[in-house]
Symmetry: C2
DNA sequence: ACCCGAATGTCAGCCTGATGACATAATCGA
DNA sequence: TCGATTATGTCATCAGGCTGACATTCGGGT
């Protein structure tokens, strides 16, 4: 259901080799990683030409915790610094809709996740703000570069199609998970979705904002699950102890 | 936010001309209509070759009210009758997740809407059941035909990309609309989204299932809105009287 | 014209989650 | 090492939605 989650490991291998001095090789290596993250390769393998084309347009950017990659309501053409396609290389980015107390977390981007392409394709402003949760390294693709990749490289367009399809399926799954389910079921679902290697590294405040409930309500359920031995609750961390039981609760 | 809604009119014009006896011309006309429904033409106009290719693979199917186009959990390869891409030509189809009392309506397909392609692209089973609300005419595209269209016609692939992007944007918008908003705001949003020419032709039971609330809760809010002159409530119909006020309530 | 199924309108009681508040504990930076 | 900040844990109160039930109204079919 969250295939991109499993792509964090290959990336770690890649960066381990990035010590080499050759900048061009580094760009190519990044492009190869992007090629692995965007869509499925089943019916459209990318050629060396495709990968090097991607490398041509990629730039790397760093963000401090709390910094915004892009902001709610930003038109695609208005801020060339932020508009365009973002591909998360390391760290996580929370997508926030609404301001202040009414803020809700639409999604959390993990390494390998892609965003901003939909807004580019539809020429619409961002409906949410992207805020770095930790130190974040992200790859950026400007609007015209993206257009050129799609136009001149059919295999890339084909792969991007399944990438967006993946996200649509996940998004619909999220809607199903939100409609008419008990709070416990919703929370279990989110914990399973958001866990990386059995741990959810998010403060309860953020998890609560992902489900659209108040923090005390979330805390009550979490402590109950902890008493039942299903999870462990720490400071900024929730540990999955019995994933099967949790999946059963999310049913 | 729901661009496909405005495509119902062109279709009606098209069928008005469909009286002609030539089957091949009818197929081409259907294909041209599909070309108008799938994605935006901005950067990828479809050639005559593209359109006739679409016509090659299209078949037309009729469904009675209550009949299922496809069923929850159905694998893409299992039932060639139902797997594949569906394009609604007339009538509406509700997408239901969950069974019996716990059923919730993920979405309602209107004429011009497309579905089933995501499941094909990701080789996954349908996560919901498609059930005809009225008499439905739908165009069907089998798996291999769809693959061939995408593989051999870059312009079609490009258009399909923005079609799925549209749906992803709408889906995310729905999530934002569900998180942490008052019942009144959620209901106003759904009424605005689902209205065709100022009318929502759905029983309250269905509208309630779209938001994941019980029918009495919905009815209470509806009667309140009616007292305030914002909407009119009829038998199986909700009429928008003051769309602006409704939009303000949905904010 | 009549009947039947389906949809709407409404209610009282219960239960869940929201609110706002407070105390405690962990982390981070100076 | 020591605040300052942020996170967790918990509570009493209250509003809002659920539940199950019932009466009423509408529409289509015979």
């Amino acid at each position: 259901m969250a295939p991109s989650r499993f792509l964090t490991l290959p990336w770690q291998q890649v960066t381990a080799e990035t010590a080499g001095p050759d900048a061009e090789m580094a760009a190519l290596r990044q492009a190869a990683w992007v090629a692995r993250c965007v869509g499925r390769g089943a019916s459209a393998p990318l050629s060396a030409t495709d990968v090097s084309a991607i490398a041509t347009y990629l730039t790397t950017r760093q963000f401090e915790p709390g910094q915004k990659l892009f902001a709610d309501g930003m038109a695609p053409g208005a801020e060339p610094e932020s508009a365009g396609v973002w591909i998360i290389r390391s760290g996580r980015v929370e997508l926030i809709a609404g301001a202040g107390e009414r803020r809700s977390v639409v999604h959390v981007l993990h390494p390998g996740d892609v965003d901003g392409d939909v807004q580019l394709l539809l020429d619409m402003p961002f409906p949410y703000t992207g805020r770095a949760l930790e130190e974040v390294t992200a790859l950026h693709l400007e609007a015209d570069g993206f257009e050129r990749l799609l136009g001149h490289h059919p295999a890339i367009a084909r792969r991007w199609l399944s990438s967006i399809a993946e996200r649509l399926a996940m998004s619909q799954n999220r809607i199903i998970g939100l409609l008419g389910r008990s709070l416990t079921a919703q929370i279990s679902q989110v914990l399973l979705d958001e866990a990386v290697q059995g741990e959810v590294l998010l403060p309860q405040r953020t998890v609560a904002a992902m489900i659209g409930v108040q923090r005390p309500s979330l805390n009550k359920v979490l402590k109950d699950l902890e008493r039942r031995g299903v999870i462990g609750v720490g400071y900024g961390v929730i540990t999955l102890r019995d994933a099967e039981a949790l999946a059963e609760l999310a049913r």
